[in-house]
């Protein structure tokens, strides 16, 4: 799973969000490192919908503009959890090995 996809799914993990909300949340989660553009975001959302990982939650009209809210599907939650667990395991391994390396260097 690409980082942008992981971050979009993470942004939708707690609540449904519209496009601008996802962009802002992804920037916040990644500490400003990942700044999605509209084209990239909608390309990813289209792919995720096609794969059944997200779905449309509701629509609103705010100041004459359409806001469509997306939410995770149960399959999306499952895949995000699997991916997060994989990252956690890899990170734990990396940290543990770095600890071993530090110990050897000392």
């Amino acid at each position: 799973m690409q980082e942008a996809t992981f971050l979009i799914l993470t942004a939708l993990a707690a609540r449904s969000q519209h496009g601008y909300g996802i962009i802002s949340d992804v920037a916040a989660i990644s500490d400003g490192r990942v700044r999605l553009r509209a084209g990239t975001l909608y390309s990813a959302l289209d792919r995720l919908r096609l794969d059944g990982l997200i779905s449309v939650d509701r629509e609103e009209i705010v100041e004459n503009r359409l806001r469509r809210y997306y939410r995770l599907t149960p399959e999306g939650s499952k895949q995000l959890a699997t991916e997060a667990a994989r990252f956690q395991t890899n990170a734990a391994t990396a940290i543990a090995r770095l600890g071993v390396a530090d110990g050897m260097a000392r």
């Binding site: 509209a38 084209g39 289209d46 096609l50 794969d51 503009r65």
Partner: protein, 219 residues
């Protein structure tokens, strides 16, 4: 015209690159996001925004609209790309083996004049070369059509396979294999890829058409 209206018009010009069905469903919300993320006082789309819209629109046109879980349809699309690459290799091999072919033809028909040799090239090799180049386009078209879940694509492809295999067998019966072995080898490989593609395609169940969704799903 206000700055916002001018900016929105500018963005609309770029969202026109998206496929019609996608635009119908998502243009309004993409425009809303673009307007929300625009800088204060911005009057025109920035080059990076234009590039982003154009590349994502292009990817919408080209990428298969098949869920990742649908392995059969995705494998069929991949095989179509392999076929396109092999056809390209056929076109290159034909050009690269012209000298071998000439030597073989002259060996079997030593009295052939230069004019008669040119007639062989024009009559046999040129159609093969043009056919190989057209076939590259055909394979890519099939990849796109299957990726879009078009029902007719597998029938068209099966007919293409039948035509190619009969052409190969006909060539073998008439002794063309003695001319250039690389041509025969790559043509055989191509037929095997076609056979695999037909097998994969007919394992795929075509589901009823639904806008924005794949119409092909595994059985």
């Amino acid at each position: 015209m206000t700055d916002a209206a001018e900016l929105e018009r500018g963005y609309r010009r770029w969202t026109r690159w998206y496929p019609k069905t996608f635009r119908r469903e998502h243009e309004a919300e993409i425009l809303a996001v673009l307007m929300d993320t625009a800088r204060e006082g911005q009057r025109r789309p920035e080059p990076a925004e234009c590039l982003d819209l154009m590349t994502s629109a292009l990817s919408m046109h080209l990428r298969p609209r098949v869920p990742r879980s649908d392995r059969s349809a995705l494998n069929a699309v991949k095989l179509m790309y392999v076929g396109a690459m092999l056809e390209l290799a056929v076109a290159i091999v034909i050009l690269a083996t012209v000298a071998d072919l000439k030597a073989n033809v002259l060996r079997t028909s030593p009295g052939l004049t230069e004019g008669e040799w040119h007639a062989v090239v024009i009559g046999q090799l040129a159609p093969l070369e043009v056919g190989a180049i057209l076939s590259v386009g055909f394979w890519l078209w099939m990849a796109w059509s299957i990726g879009r879940g078009h029902r007719w694509a597998r029938i068209v492809f099966a007919l293409f396979f039948a035509l190619n295999i009969s052409s190969l067998l006909n060539g073998l019966v008439h002794g063309s294999a003695v001319y250039a072995r690389p041509d025969l080898a790559i043509a055989t490989l191509l037929c095997l890829v076609e056979l695999a593609s037909v097998a994969v395609l007919f394992r795929v169940k075509i589901a009823p058409s639904r806008p924005g969704a794949s119409r092909i799903s595994p059985r």
